[in-house]
């Protein structure tokens, strides 16, 4: 055991010890993210939990009276904008995915569209904000409205929805399609009643994750000029609005301690919306994995 063996180094004990150390390092690295998440939650809750109350959810923000500020206009603004984002992006995204996966020929045009979607998914969200500012706010004269915000976010999440929906459709085995064709079903009948139903859980997981990403986006909405201190609830598509992440950003920017506490409370409300949505998406996927028989 003194290295006379040349390349062959049988020092198994030392190698195993090194291996155990490496395994421990990998475990720590994996848990590092969770540790940060825990520290983040504790520090936010520590500062903001005592500001959470029914009044915080049902009052409007106010610069002059921070003590009685609330987040009502932001909650409703986010609800309006994300609702509308979903209404536009979800049907559009699923339809595009069906076209690409079920209809499109494998040719140059299709490859170009696929490449294009993959690249759009990597475009920074603030660039979508610039697009929204130039196209919806200025050119189409939508101003800082709910509609302009929703359309901007819809374009942002569209590639994510398309990619997730395509994966779900591709996971449906071809035998399902052949069985329907063999019984004389048309292409659309096959897709509608034999491909979409088994793909639906996967599509829903992707849609929920995409929309929860949209809920947390502030940069594109700031770009189109979403006002920060808004003390009313939008009542139509043309109304001005604010959203949860914008309200939080606004409070973080203020130097006084009370605004920082309001920001922390706002973050708790925002995460209180997002965690159940994420859990739902993950739950649907797990349930589908267990249940599927092909």
């Amino acid at each position: 055991m003194n290295g006379d063996e040349g390349m062959f180094a049988p020092n198994l004990r030392g190698r195993r010890r090194k291996g155990a150390l490496f395994a421990a390092i990998c475990l720590v690295m994996t848990l590092l993210g969770l540790g940060v998440l825990a520290v983040l939650l504790v520090s936010v809750a520590d500062l903001g939990a005592h500001r959470l109350s029914w009044g915080f959810l049902t009052r409007y923000p106010s610069r002059l009276a921070p003590e009685s500020s609330g987040i009502k206009s932001a909650i409703w603004g986010t609800t309006w904008v994300i609702g509308l984002t979903g209404l536009t992006a979800v049907p559009l995204g699923i339809a595009a995915a069906i076209h690409l996966q079920e209809y499109a020929l494998r040719n140059r045009i299709t490859r170009f569209i696929e490449l294009n979607i993959a690249n759009l998914a990597g475009v920074p969200s603030i660039v979508y904000g610039i697009l929204g500012l130039a196209m919806f706010t200025r050119m189409m004269h939508l101003g800082r409205s709910v509609l302009a915000g929703a359309l901007t976010l819809a374009l942002l999440v569209l590639p994510v929805i398309i990619i997730a929906s395509r994966e779900a459709l591709a996971a449906v085995p071809d035998s399902f399609r052949y069985a329907a064709y063999a019984l004389g079903a048309t292409r659309w009948q096959t897709i509608w009643s034999h491909v979409l139903p088994p793909a639906l859980p996967g599509i829903m997981t992707g849609v929920i994750l995409a929309l929860s990403r949209a809920i947390g986006e502030a940069a594109p909405l700031i770009m189109i000029g979403a006002l920060t201190y808004i003390a009313f609830v939008p009542e139509g598509l043309r109304d001005d609005f604010t959203a949860m992440p914008i309200q939080i950003y606004n409070w973080v920017e203020e130097p006084e301690q009370v605004f920082r506490e309001l920001a922390a409370a706002g973050i708790l409300v925002l995460l209180g919306m997002l965690f159940p949505l994420n859990a739902l998406a993950i739950g649907i996927r797990a349930w589908h994995q267990r249940r599927k028989t092909w």
Binding site: I113, L120, G122, V127, L131, A218, A263
Partner: protein, 299 residues
Amino acid sequence: MPTNAAKVREGAIRYLLMACASVSIVTTIGIIWTLAVESYHFFKHEEISVLGFLTGTRWAPLLEPRDFGVLPLVCGTFLVGAGALVLAVPVGICAAIFLSEYAKPGFRGFLKPMLEILAGIPTVVYGYFALMFVTPYLLQWLRPQTEIFNAASAAIVVAVMIIPTIASLCDDAFRSVPGTLREAAYALSATKLEVSARVVVPAAMSGVVAATLLAFARAIGETMAVALAAGATPKLTLNPFESVMTMTAYIVQVSLGDTPHGTIEYQSIFAVGMLLFLVTLVFNIISQQVLRRFREVYE
């Protein structure tokens, strides 16, 4: 046989779906067109040239004498992005090795969703965390003269944001390495560490590189966390403990200020946006090419 009505319906549905798919092309054209038009107006001003914009070392759009040299913004952006990569890549790769090689299926089933939750936290929350926790309790504790706004805190939170991306993409790459390669190494009496480090990671190297490039593109496009944490001082510095300004932070700052349409500041966000768009596009495309060209294909 399908009836005529059915044929018409089938055709109509087909074209409707095709129209939906073409929205992505329209979006791309829209992005390039809006960026190009306003950038063109920006560069038409006498005081500005493309070369001066790309090589100028002073960014002062509001102070007289005005200067539009984008290098300080590029420097800030790359300082934060590179810092985030240095922190996130080792952590992400180790996490991926643990997930694919060490973790038991049950533990893995718990860790993967947790990473997804970490990835789903809004960036403004990370900005708050950088400002309220990372800088005062970590950086100023280590180095008391650290400025309140600094590149390091931004790099740290951006690293946390991109760790799930790197870990999950690398995990996919490691898992696609066939088991036979591992078994062959075990048969030669390699330990698990040797199998991971000398067989699995090299075999999946294209995936690791692609994940790193993609994460970098995401890091430099990151906005709210960086705007809150890194500050608003366009500065040509490599000191991570100073305040800097990134390209994204500049764009946000101008749009918060309610700048009138048609002014030079308004047009400058499109020029900076164009540069940001092109840089992220290049990194995304290289990442896809690496995956396609250098992927080892196993039967």
